[in-house]
């Protein structure tokens, strides 16, 4: 098997500006869209005056809910209207759309649309939403197609998921030697992809063509077909790269609107969001309040864990793809450990705030911050070394995880040991007068099951192979991974393979990018494709493969897990509370690495995103308005911010399929925040239970403690 690795297949096109994204698409006769958005979090729409806008220069039309399909859409629950009908449920919601000859003309005319509101009482937090007298965000949330709630579940409930027995946990906690009870909160945040959401739609007879910043084209096609009452075969989602995703580009977003506007005007239309719209009106991360109660025996063995999570789901639930309308990361937050008694309740509430969606390992960064902070606190109560405490509780080989699966192997201990040992070798220097601290955190996730995907191999002149794939390149390097896997499977040079993303008309299907599934799902399809390629009738024949759980082939393979253990070293200025993260070391449990540079970037990029979550990012709101409404206010890490990053690959893991791969894209972003908060607690003795860890919070925590100590004397 010659493993001739080369660099990314898209590197030159991207570096030279030749790569074309949705925002670069221009069609003959194309019009431009600007959206009129709600200024209020909750209000009845008393009137929309479009006369001035319609008369403005270059305007082709102004459209409201009366003009577009009334069917709501969504990824699972169908509760999102194309344009607000009757009332608005968050500040930023689409009320009307202006279509004009230029973007400038559309935006100028949008400012002339006059909306008359009758203000309604708004519910702005999840805590408030679940009180009995809270205003109703939706009149009958249970009546939407695929709703996960029923009448009687509560007026503002998007979902409530429960695992385990509260009684068993109470009994176990009562018998425990040490019990911690802590509540941890995390703010809203944004995926921070740097390509704004965009869509071009063109209707041509009965054919609808879509170019969109969407990572799940086949799902998008069926969502559009259902919402607009179209035949899926009449819709073609065009191929192309995405300028970052991180979970933010999985929903139909403004695409149903653009499809309707193309139909209504009879011309192609283009909408590119201004970044302020991305920050205030797309699908950012769920803010969370998570209470953890956990107990252990005198030997530091966990006895029971209770997790009660309350998340703010915003005005619409349709941005979440799972049928239970929950975030699986919260449900799986104790996956790394053996927990004899577990009770977990996770509630997502409707509020009059921006609807929330998925962001890189949805629910995990929030819940890992809670669990991994609480375990540190519990270790301290038990007077045990914090890493050793974790080591005693990791899932052991052969033990079932909380999902009930027994993994092919459980490599928590070697991964944690590698992190602790390597971190000990590099003691980062704190500035003079600052206090050093070290924190550890662990995260585990299961590899996804096989996905129903497809691929086509076509022989082309000169012995080259064209590999047509259904997955967009969102930036992860998936096309390069596909190329390298295929080269190995076919025994040819990677230089002879061209990976080409094709539109939805050209291959049978794919679930899209997400859940760390691309490498895993494609590895199986490519494996079969390579076999079929060798067995095909003649050298000129193409090969098309559909793979997935239904494609035949024996018992399912054992579940595969990946561990990540991180050690953060920080320095804290005890006078100002300023925290400098000196180093983050990530030990990652890996199988075969198909594209080493891309694999490392998933590790580093994840770690830096986790650092942003830990120390910087807060998509702040006030009175129902997102106030961190530009990238100056919502601050992402820049090159000069980031700490030293070190990686230890814990090699030799057993992965998925004959390619022996483990997912890596949603690992290192998860434990960082807890590792940093734990390091700050180690340095100062002060526990920050609310992200981000800012100098202000540390300053006040230090002051409060000093005050308490003074009083004691």
């Amino acid at each position: 098997m010659p493993e001739v690795f080369r660099g990314r297949d898209d590197a030159r096109a991207k570096a030279s500006g030749a790569a074309r994204y949705v925002g670069d698409v221009s069609l003959p006769g194309m019009l431009h869209v600007a959206v009129v958005r709600s200024l209020l979090p909750h209000a009845r729409i008393a009137g929309i005056d479009t006369k001035l806008a319609e008369a403005a220069d270059g305007v082709a039309g102004v459209f409201t809910a009366a003009d577009v399909n009334p069917a709501p859409y969504g990824r699972s629950v169908r509760d999102i209207p194309i344009l607000a009908r009757g009332k608005v449920r968050f500040a930023g919601e689409r009320i009307a759309a202006v279509v004009a000859e230029s973007r400038r003309a559309a935006e100028a005319a949008a400012a002339l649309v006059e909306v008359t509101y009758e203000d309604l009482p708004a519910v702005l937090s999840a805590e408030e939403a679940i009180t009995p007298d809270a205003p109703a965000v939706h009149e009958e949330p249970w009546s939407y197609p695929r709703a996960a709630v029923r009448p009687g579940d509560g007026q503002n409930m998007q979902s409530r998921v429960v695992h385990g027995s509260p009684e068993a946990v109470e009994a176990a906690l009562a018998a425990s030697d040490h019990v911690i009870d802590g509540t941890y909160t995390t703010p809203s945040g944004h995926q921070g992809y740097l390509e704004p959401q965009a869509c071009v739609a063109a209707v041509d007879g009965s054919r609808l063509r879509i170019w969109a910043t969407n990572k799940s084209p086949y799902r998008l096609r069926s969502q559009l077909a259902e919402c607009l009452g179209l035949d899926p075969a009449s819709i073609e989602i065009q191929p192309g790269p995405l300028g970052g995703d991180f979970g933010g580009k999985g929903s139909p977003m403004d695409i149903p609107l653009c499809a309707e506007l193309a139909r209504l005007t009879g011309r192609p239309v283009k909408l590119v969001l201004r970044y302020t719209e991305d920050l205030t009106a797309t699908n950012p991360r769920h803010p969370a309040r998570i209470r953890i109660r956990a107990g252990c025996d005198a030997g530091g063995r966990l006895t029971a864990v209770e997790v009660r999570a309350l998340l703010n789901g915003g005005a619409y639930a349709g941005f979440k793809p799972l049928a239970n309308v929950s975030l699986h990361g919260v449900e799986e937050c104790t996956l790394a450990y053996h927990v004899p008694a577990l009770y977990l309740e996770t509630v997502i509430a409707y509020t009059n705030t921006v609807p929330r969606g998925h962001m890189r390992s949805p629910g995990s960064p929030q819940s890992a911050f809670a669990i991994e902070s609480a375990l540190d606190e519990l270790a301290d109560l038990a007077s045990l070394d914090r890493a050793e405490f974790r080591r005693r509780n990791l899932v052991r080989p052969g033990e079932p995880s909380v999902t009930g699966k027994v993994w092919a192997e459980a490599r928590g201990a070697p991964t944690l040991d590698a992190a602790v040992e390597q971190a000990r070798l590099s003691q980062a220097q704190a500035p003079p007068g600052w206090r050093r601290g070290t924190g550890v955190a662990v995260y585990a996730r299961e590899a996804p099951g096989m996905a129903a995907t497809s691929v086509r191999l076509i022989p082309v002149q000169g012995g080259r192979i064209r590999a047509e794939v259904p997955v967009p390149e969102t930036g992860t390097g998936s096309h390069t991974v596909i190329r390298n896997l295929l080269a190995a499977g076919l025994g040819v040079s990677a230089a002879d393979i061209d990976v080409v993303h094709v539109g939805t008309g050209d291959l049978p299907g794919d679930p899209g990018v997400g859940g760390s599934r691309v490498t895993v799902g494609m590895s199986e399809a490519l494996d079969r494709a390579a076999r079929a390629w060798r067995e095909r009738g003649g050298p000129g024949e193409p090969v098309e493969i559909r793979s997935g759980p239904d494609a035949g082939g024996g018992a399912p393979p054992p579940a595969v897990s990946s561990y990540c253990a991180q050690v953060a070293q920080v320095a804290v200025d005890l006078v100002t509370g300023q925290v400098k993260v000196l180093e983050i070391l990530s030990a990652v449990d890996v199988g075969r690495i198909v594209h080493p540079a891309g694999h490392q970037m998933q590790i580093d990029g994840g770690t830096v995103m986790g650092y942003g979550f830990a120390c910087l990012e807060d998509l702040a709101e006030d009175d129902g308005q997102v106030t961190a409404a530009n990238l100056g206010e919502f601050r992402l890490p820049v090159m000069a911010d980031i700490p030293a990053l070190r990686t230890v690959l814990v090699e030799g893991g057993q992965g998925v399929t004959s390619a022996n791969v483990k997912p890596v894209g949603e690992l290192t972003n998860v434990p960082v925040a807890a590792a940093i908060a734990n390091a700050v607690a180690d340095a100062t003795g002060c526990r920050i239970r609310d992200l981000p860890v800012t100098a202000e919070k540390v300053y006040w925590a230090l002051r409060d403690r000093a005050e308490a100590e003074r009083r004691q004397k």
């Binding site: 570096a15 500006g17 100056g632």
Partner: protein, 149 residues
């Protein structure tokens, strides 16, 4: 308003609306390598060179380039093939949407401070956000480019 300036080494004469921004002028000419994200001069995606200085073209009035020498990523890719080579070789990108801005910023650094240290590179490129890579390969790409010149 009529503007004449050099764009990627060639004289151009274009009409622009009053108040038009440089980013729109450039993109409307078909040079879509220059991207736009934040619109407030923070993210660096729209970076171009005006008289050798890197500017955020989303904040730069098109009128101000009259008589100036403007370079976008497309022109720099032709003028400085080593720059593209360095980013390709060190894989200084993932999704690629910030890459043109990173490349233009790096070209400016090469002129301003060709012997930049790693810390200086990180400080210089701090005006160019990247959400994907964790920045390590971008820093390595810029370092390699400076070293190879």
């Amino acid at each position: 308003m009529k503007l004449s300036f050099t764009l990627n080494g060639e004289e151009v004469e274009v009409a622009a609306e009053t108040g038009a921004l440089l980013v729109d002028l450039i993109r409307d000419l078909g040079l879509t390598g220059t991207k736009e994200a934040c619109g407030v001069g923070v993210c660096g995606l729209c970076t171009v060179l005006v008289d050798d200085l890197p500017v955020s073209s989303c904040l730069y009035l098109a009128a101000c380039v009259d008589g100036a020498d403007v370079w976008t990523v497309e022109g720099l890719a032709r003028r400085e093939p080593g720059l593209i080579q360095a980013f390709a070789e060190h894989e200084g990108m993932q999704c690629g949407i910030c890459t043109p801005g990173q490349v233009v910023a790096a070209a400016a650094l090469a002129r301003e401070n060709p012997g930049a240290t790693e810390a200086e590179i990180r400080e210089h490129q701090a005006g160019n956000l990247c959400r994907c890579t964790g920045y390590q390969t971008i820093a390595a790409s810029v370092e390699a480019y400076l070293a190879a010149r």
